[in-house]
Amino acid sequence: MLKTFGAFAAGLIFGTGILLSGMGNPAKVLNFFDLAGTWDPSLMFVMGGALAVTFIGYRLVFQMKRPLLAASFSLPTSTVLDARLIGGAAIFGIGWGIAGFCPGGLLPVIGYGQIEPFIMLGGILTGMIIVKAVTASGSKTAPAGKAAPRPAQG
């Protein structure tokens, strides 16, 4: 119960940060990437603020033996730079550059009631289901041990 409430509070804070920062507004996000046109450097400050707090905050948190409400920290352990990681990131960047929404920027503006965020959400979920379906059918034919589960980072 406490865990659920903690996650809810973290979601509220995260979403508030997204909305105040401008990450939920595709016009602003796309202008950040438009160096040769109507460049708006604001998102550099979003990343800077988020990274500074997380970098220091994580170091304080990792002084604890375990998180306050869970048995252990769940951290990705893979260190391999493979084609799946880089290819996936490249495809994500293309989609982000087309639409201007990333998953974190999207959810806080769903409640605005405009149609575009719903289309985006439908697209993201479709993409996720496609990967899940292809991965599932691929792992049936792959030799045992080949299709290792990947820890989701983001």
Binding site: G11, L12, L19, V80, I86, Q153
Partner: protein, 142 residues
């Protein structure tokens, strides 16, 4: 044109960081929106489903907090056609699933952990987003 908002963006970014630190300190979890969303569409059989749903509910409810604090909601303007939004959405869904992360998971949480994978992924998606916007706005001229 959009207005350059360094202070508001810095403050919003700091809140995003605070939420990421809170989720790690309380639950021991990475605040990666793609991973949380992806875990949600799996069958609700795991104990992780409840906190993921709660986190997403918090995200969805955040405009109410902003309304209470500021009295007004920040602008939402989408200079992209619905069809292109749909295409972009599918690519974001596929890319973040294959690449195990998005802006929050890799760009914030992963880089803060100095994860080699996250640094490589972030450099990659920032680069392809830059190229994509350049091509759409200045080569095709949409």
């Amino acid at each position: 044109m959009t207005e350059f908002t360094p202070l508001m963006s810095l403050a919003g970014g700091a809140l995003i960081g605070l939420a990421a630190v809170a989720l790690m300190g309380l639950l021991g979890r990475i605040a990666g929106i793609n991973g949380i969303l992806s875990g949600l569409i799996a069958l609700p059989n795991s104990s992780d489903w409840a906190w993921r749903a709660a986190f997403v509910l918090g995200l969805l409810g955040s405009p109410l907090i902003v309304l209470m604090i500021a009295g007004t909601l920040p602008a939402l303007s989408v200079p992209v056609s619905p069809i292109m939004i749909g295409i972009g959405g599918v690519l974001v869904g596929i890319g973040t699933s294959l690449g195990s992360g998005c802006t929050s998971g890799h760009g914030v949480c992963g880089i803060a952990r100095l994860s080699k994978r996250s640094i490589a992924a972030t450099l990659t998606f920032m680069a392809t987003a830059l190229i994509t916007v350049f091509v759409i706005r200045h080569v095709i001229g949409a």
